[in-house]
């Protein structure tokens, strides 16, 4: 259970996130929706502690995440893997090594420094790649892959961390419709088969409705909606997206259909 209470983040007087209170049970697939700049990204980054909250607490199974530092913090980051809009892979390094980055916390520091990966670590990384259907690309440089392939590599990196949670920050925003479906399907598979909690920032309402079993709507740094997808009415959508609402829903509907 991930419990977030009174979580806020302010930048010189302006709130990027304000007084967020949510509880996310293990094994759920949560979509965080809202306009860009609504604070979705800040929320996910705070959970991974890439951004430090200015107030409030994050708690996971009784562990207070907000006060962690050093090795404790790194341990937490291993347990809550992150996937980014821009993939954040190391472009000049091969795919397998990129995936092995997710194992850094599981091996002695000297082995990591000398890049001596154990056979088991490499097997785990290959297994992850194999499940994503890109094991044949393992020896290629990451920056020679297409966006969709890179994002699948990033998912593998998250997966080999053996995390409890995967945070996905707009994972499909840079992808075409076909790869969008591929990546979302994989996230769903991970969630269903391995029982890993997935918290996913999405711009598109239709995708959120299709994949998530719960939606959190954010506007101006606040949580304005927190319910099952069926509870999201036209009115709430309009509140979330303002004038964009009709456009967002229609456009993305068309997108999913063609996909």
């Amino acid at each position: 259970m991930l419990r977030i209470t009174g979580l806020s983040r302010s930048y010189t007087g302006r709130f990027a996130a304000e007084n967020i209170n949510i509880e996310i049970p293990r094994g759920s697939f949560v979509g965080v929706i809202g306009r860009s700049g609504a604070g979705k990204s800040t929320l996910l980054r705070m959970i991974n502690r890439l951004v430090d909250p200015t107030a409030g607490t994050i708690e996971f199974d009784g562990l207070n995440v907000t006060t962690l530092t050093g090795a404790g913090l790194r341990g937490w980051r291993m347990r809550c893997a992150m996937i980014f809009q821009q993939f954040n892979l190391v472009g000049r390094v091969d795919v397998l090594t990129n995936v092995l980055m997710g194992r850094l916390g599981h091996m002695p520091a000297w082995r990591a420094m000398l890049k001596i990966w154990s056979r088991e670590d490499r097997l785990i990384a290959l297994a992850a790649l194999d499940q994503m259907g890109i094991a044949n690309l393992a020896a290629q440089r990451a920056d020679q892959l297409s966006g969709g392939q890179q994002q699948r590599v990033a998912i593998c990196r998250a997966l080999v961390q053996e995390p409890d949670i995967i945070l996905a920050d707009e994972p499909i925003a840079s992808l075409d419709p076909r790869n969008t479906k591929l990546v979302m399907d994989q996230l769903l598979r991970i969630n269903r088969e391995l029982g890993i909690t997935v918290i996913c920032n999405l711009h598109s309402l239709d995708l959120a409705r299709t994949y998530c079993d719960r939606l959190i709507g954010m506007a101006q740094g606040r949580v304005v909606f927190n319910d099952v997808p069926a509870g999201l009415t036209e009115d709430i959508a309009r509140e979330l997206y303002g004038l964009e609402a009709g456009e967002v829903m229609a456009a993305q509907h068309a997108e999913t259909v063609t996909a």
């Binding site: 992150m82 090594t97 850094l104």
Partner: protein
């Protein structure tokens, strides 16, 4: 007609404004030259009266004791070939050891001096200032001090070169690091990597070609530096050259300078080839 007149007037005033600025610039330049000539005790008359010395000096450099031209008897010209080759080898080794040690320490320091990786502003600025100090003090000044502390010989020379190299390399390296893409760093941080692991796996792959290329360039510079650091007694061929110049062993001077020029050219050529291969490999890989 009226319009043409106005245009002409605008053009003329624009031109005269520019001319005015040029005249002001020229005036400043002339005053600066005058001041500089006065400060540097420039004596054109001395130069003219003594320019004969220069040509005769060059002439003497290519004459053997016997009065014959040096190239008529290469064995006599390069009578000290083996001694000089030994000194040249030492000079190259000094440059090599100094470059490697300096580049390694500069490499260790540069991450702490990069504002995007070092979150503590104080530490970052502290390292930046330290590198700047090392870079700004010329190696010959360090060499003078170290010769006093360590005694005559190549050791103070190497240390002087290394310390100057730490500053020069550290600053360049830090500039490269500050221009990297931070997304991979974030990616590794988010999966629980330590600061060192972030550098090892997200920063290094982005900067290593540049680092090696800069180090090779620095080696070229340091070969030149090591050749003259012997002037203050800090080892290498410089000491021998200084003695030859001071004692007017003309043909030795030219022999050593020819060897130095050849060495520098060979080193420049090799490092350039290496750097091209390195950068070329980067493009193809």
């Amino acid at each position: 007609m009226l319009e043409a007149g106005m245009l002409e007037a605008t053009y003329a005033s624009a031109v005269s404004a520019r001319r005015m600025r040029s005249i002001q610039g020229a005036a400043v330049l002339i005053i600066a030259i005058g001041l500089a000539c006065w400060a540097a005790e420039v004596r054109p008359l001395t130069l003219i009266s003594k320019i004969g010395n220069f040509t005769s000096y060059i002439d003497r450099m290519f004459q053997l004791e016997s009065g014959a031209r040096v190239w008529t008897d290469p064995a006599e010209w390069f009578w000290g070939l083996w001694k000089w080759l030994g000194l040249l080898r030492d000079t190259l080794l000094m440059a090599y050891v100094g470059t490697l040690a300096g580049a390694f320490i500069g490499f260790l320091f540069c991450f702490a001096a990069s504002s995007n990786l070092m979150k503590s502003k104080w530490v970052c600025q502290g390292f930046k200032r330290l590198l700047e100090f090392n870079r700004t003090v010329p190696e010959l000044v360090f060499a003078l001090l170290f010769v006093y502390a360590f005694g005559l010989g190549p050791v103070p020379g190497v240390i002087a070169i290394a310390i100057h190299t730490i500053g020069a390399m550290g600053k360049l390296f830090a500039e490269v690091v500050e221009n990297i893409d931070m997304k991979p760093v974030e990616g590794i941080a988010a999966s629980g990597g330590t600061w060192v692991q972030q550098i090892r796996f997200a920063v290094l792959p982005q900067v290593q070609t540049n680092f090696i290329s800069y180090t090779l360039l620095r080696f070229e510079v340091n070969v030149r530096a090591a050749a003259v650091i012997g002037f203050v007694g800090a080892g290498g061929i410089g000491d021998e050259l200084l003695t030859s110049i001071r004692r007017f062993y003309y043909s030795d001077v030219s022999a050593i300078i020819v060897m130095l020029i050849l060495t520098v050219m060979v080193i420049d050529y090799c490092t350039e080839k290496l750097r091209h291969r390195l950068l070329g490999g980067e493009v193809h890989a």
